[in-house]
């Protein structure tokens, strides 16, 4: 039995002060993460938080665990490399809606398909915060912004439906201002063996202040919803984007499980043995 050290949520708070604006939803996501880590007793030296670029991308700096602040859009493949290089680490990827679904959108379905055993939390503010307010892939149709002065001609990506389509192992929506529930979702995501995706509404008070709309609008999935029912999960995802809860769960062998099995089945070898195969047999062995 390994000893579980009980850590206060504050133990995960680094002495770097978040650069976020007052009221930014990312504070709530950070706090929920501290509480989830505390509940799980995660060791900061055995935990890695990987992010891309954005206001939300600064997240790892505010946590005492190991962190990796990658380039814009590349949190998921980076996290894959971390996890596959050392499967014993707890790996969390975090980022923004632009980071994850615009520039990094090409990685999302593959992380889900591979079933990398990591937890991915997107701080969804339906806007590009760091670059001061341009529309993002989750912005509303007709939404005005500095880059859509006449209204957004594009429709928002349904992230829940996208994740279910890609067969992510755990698909949930939370909100920064529903602290207890978000903590539980992050906890459940980490506990889920496989690729866990949590889209967390996280309002940008400076460039797209949806705080009140979301606080008024969110509701929860029915108790009767069965997350193992993919069709039902789809139906809920298509229903109403402002619904919080666990939409979908599909546990199956993870990428780590499969590669560990491959390694176990393989006959150990060396580079020298590889060279044997190219040898011309010119000298007596």
């Amino acid at each position: 039995m390994t000893e579980t050290i009980v850590r206060d949520p504050k133990a995960y708070k680094s002495d770097l002060k978040p650069i976020w604006c007052p009221g930014c939803g990312d504070f709530g996501v950070l706090a929920a993460t501290f509480r989830a880590f505390s509940e799980l007793g995660l060791d900061p030296d055995k935990t890695v938080i990987v992010s891309g670029i954005g206001c939300s991308g600064r997240f790892p700096g505010f946590v005492t665990s190991y962190g990796y602040h990658s380039v814009h859009g590349r949190a998921l493949p980076t996290a894959m490399g971390v996890k596959m290089a050392n499967p014993d680490l707890e790996v969390i990827a975090v980022g923004g809606d632009g980071d994850g679904f615009a520039i990094g959108g090409g990685h999302f379905p593959h992380a889900a398909r591979r079933n990398i055993d990591i937890t991915y939390v997107v701080m969804n503010n339906e806007i590009y915060g760091l670059t001061k307010g341009q529309v993002s892939p989750t912005s509303q149709h007709d939404q005005k912004s500095p880059s859509s002065p006449f209204g957004n001609t594009e429709s928002p990506l349904n992230t829940m439906a996208t994740a279910i389509a890609a067969d992510a192992s755990f698909v949930a929506r939370g909100a920064s201002f529903r602290a207890k529930e978000l903590t539980e979702l992050i906890l459940a995501g980490i506990n889920n063996k496989g690729f866990s995706f949590i889209d967390a509404y996280s309002p940008c008070t400076s460039f797209n202040n949806t705080t009140q709309i979301w606080k008024d609008g969110v509701r929860y999935l029915d108790e009767s919803h069965d997350p193992s029912d993919r069709a039902a999960a789809f139906a809920r995802a298509l229903d109403d984007p402002m619904t919080l809860g666990v939409y979908y769960k599909h546990e199956r062998p993870t990428m780590v499980d499969q590669f560990e099995a491959l390694k176990k089945a393989a006959k150990p070898s060396t580079a020298d043995e590889l060279l044997d195969g190219y040898a011309l047999g010119l000298t007596a062995a």
């Binding site: 002495d15 990796y68 602040h69 980076t78 040898a279 011309l280």
Partner: protein
């Protein structure tokens, strides 16, 4: 008179066994003691289309593809039409009697052999045509086929009596050659081998080197001519306790390699020019966050999709200067197949020691040529590991974690510029970042910090520049110096030999590490040369420009972009025609 070596070409249609025949001949000749170096062209079509296999064999180590074809075997008319111009003034042609007519100029040095018919009679199937071809070549050159027959049996062990049929075809081809063809070509017989040799390609050598270095994480996206590295590691890495992953693109490949490198693994990706372009941004991250990684670029003819199956040395600028800002990195160029193995280990050693991304620049011709080389003693090729926090004395400023204290000073400014790296899973948590940062890795945008950190990241490479490996041939003073990089070295050394035979003294200088460039040593060597020629398989003379600007050494460029490697004669002829006179005038 026996030649020291001969260059053989097999030319025909893909699907006729041209390449497999060439491969098996090369292995068989290798086992019979001949040294070999191959060159092949690929059909542009996915199935069908003309293809060619070239191999130069001889009693001594082969350095380049050969100046011209000594023996061309045409499987069909197209084979003749496309390849006869490569045949040397004394070269011989053997044409398929059923399908190929040579032109008048070759009438007195060509012979017809009914390959398919001989195959049908001997082995019961016209499909044994390529074995008849191989037998014909062996018969003509008097190469012992014992080893070849064993290879054939092994290759077709699971295919009933196909092996026996192929051997029958091989022997029938040889018998026919000895009985019906004049003894027009002789090559020196090899002496006994002093050391064991291996026959492999540049990419295979890179794979072997990376495994010796301790590779445990590979990620890549298929692209010619690097895909076979992904494929062989996918099969091989589990046996070494590692993983190989085919990613959704090259960005994901390198991003994950950096994630693995940060986590302590020795990690690699391999690609070609288009993929390296996609990786540019992440090369900057690796340089700034100081993450070890190896990126293989097997160069092909660009720009854009270019000529994907043809060789070129046109990614040097991209390797040395690619990525925004000024991102430190190391660029290493192997020159031969065994050097691919050595350089792969050196790439990992540099990545680990200096905590930088290292780009290993191969090219299509080197990656895919088969070359006989002495079997390296791997125990003599040293493997280096990074300096971790766990390695250095305990404590060392590391903060106990979980108490809210500042992170461990991961980017500590040290004398060497190298700071011990904490490995996730062990004490010393910090945030690895591409944002400019202080010693703790905390974001900082002051001019002083930026200066100090760029100094650190660049100056740590000075030690590498001072000690990197260079191969030099010839005297310290020579009329002509050939200065180059990568796979042109063999042709350059041979060109120097050709020049010597004409009374021109020539020397060669090939640095392995092109970034940071060993400027002082290049300058010093250049002082002894009357004229310096830089041969490159590219259009603009990328290395020549680098030498002019960084070393302030004037050089003459020799560029060709035919999609083929240089021959020694091309380099020697250029020098005799253009440079010798200049040198003479200067003297």
């Amino acid at each position: 008179m026996a030649l020291p070596d001969i260059t053989l070409q097999l030319a025909g249609e893909s699907g006729e066994g041209v390449i497999s025949g060439g491969d098996i001949f090369t292995s068989g000749a290798g086992r019979a003691g001949y040294w070999a170096l191959t060159f092949r062209t690929y059909p542009a079509e996915i199935k069908g289309g003309p293809c060619m296999f070239q191999v130069r064999i001889g009693a001594n180590r082969i350095k380049s593809i050969g100046n011209h074809t000594d023996l061309l075997v045409c499987f069909n008319q197209e084979g003749f039409d496309l390849q006869h111009e490569t045949v040397g003034p004394e070269g011989i042609i053997i044409a398929d009697a059923e399908s190929c007519k040579v032109t008048d100029e070759f009438a007195d040095r060509s012979f017809e052999v009914p390959f398919s018919q001989i195959a049908e009679e001997a082995g019961g199937s016209r499909r044994g045509k390529n074995m008849v071809v191989v037998g014909t070549v062996c018969g003509l050159l008097d190469i012992d086929t014992t080893a070849l027959e064993q290879l054939i049996l092994a290759r077709y062990a699971h295919k009933g009596d196909v092996g026996e049929a192929n051997i029958a075809s091989l022997r029938a081809g040889g018998d026919n050659a000895r009985q019906n063809l004049p003894s027009v070509l002789n090559v020196d017989k090899p002496g006994p081998a002093e050391r064991e040799r291996i026959l492999l390609s540049g990419n295979q050598a890179i794979v072997a080197g990376s495994l010796h270095a301790g590779l445990s994480y590979y990620a890549g996206y298929p692209i010619t001519p690097a895909s076979d590295i992904l494929e062989s590691l996918a099969a091989r890495l589990p046996r070494h306790g590692g993983v190989a992953i085919q990613t959704e693109d090259e960005i994901a490949a390198l991003a994950s390699v950096l994630g693995a490198g940060y986590t302590g693994a020795k990690a690699m990706t391999a690609t070609s020019g288009p993929g390296l372009s996609l990786m540019s941004e992440l090369i900057g991250l690796a340089g700034t966050a100081e993450i070890p990684a190896v990126i293989v670029d097997s160069m092909r003819a660009g720009p854009s999709t270019g000529m994907p199956t043809k060789t070129e040395q046109s990614d040097l600028n991209q390797a040395v200067y690619g990525s925004h800002g000024e991102a430190p990195r190391v660029v290493i160029a192997p020159t031969t197949v065994d050097d691919c193995l050595t350089c792969a280990v050196e790439a990992f050693n540099a990545a680990e020691t200096y905590q930088v991304p290292v780009i290993l620049l191969s090219d299509q011709s080197l990656s895919h040529r088969l070359e006989t080389v002495e079997r390296p003693d791997l125990s003599e090729i040293e493997v280096e590991d990074r300096l971790t926090l766990a390695d250095v004395a305990s404590g060392n400023g590391a903060s106990p974690n979980g108490d809210g204290n500042s992170a461990y000073p991961r980017y500590k400014l040290t004398e060497s510029g190298i700071s011990p790296m904490p490995i996730p899973g062990t004490p010393g948590s910090y945030v690895s970042t591409g944002i400019e940062h202080d010693e703790q890795g905390h974001p900082s945008y002051t001019g002083e910090i930026h200066q100090a950190m760029q100094d650190k990241r660049w100056k740590k490479l000075d030690a590498l520049a001072a000690g990197s490996r260079v191969t030099v041939t010839g005297a310290e003073k020579a009329q002509v110096g050939i200065l180059g990089w990568g796979s042109t070295e063999g042709a350059a050394i041979e060109a120097a030999e050709l020049l010597a035979a004409e009374g021109v003294t020539a020397a060669t200088f090939y640095p392995r590490v092109l970034c940071p460039l060993p400027v002082d040593r290049i300058k010093k060597w250049a002082e002894g040369m009357d004229v310096i020629v830089v041969p490159e398989v590219n259009y603009t003379g990328q290395f020549a420009r680098m030498v002019r600007s960084d070393c302030e050494v004037p050089v003459v460029q020799l560029n060709q972009i035919s999609g083929r490697p240089f021959t020694a004669k091309q380099i020697a002829d250029f020098i005799t025609e253009n440079v010798k006179t200049a040198a003479g005038a200067a003297a």
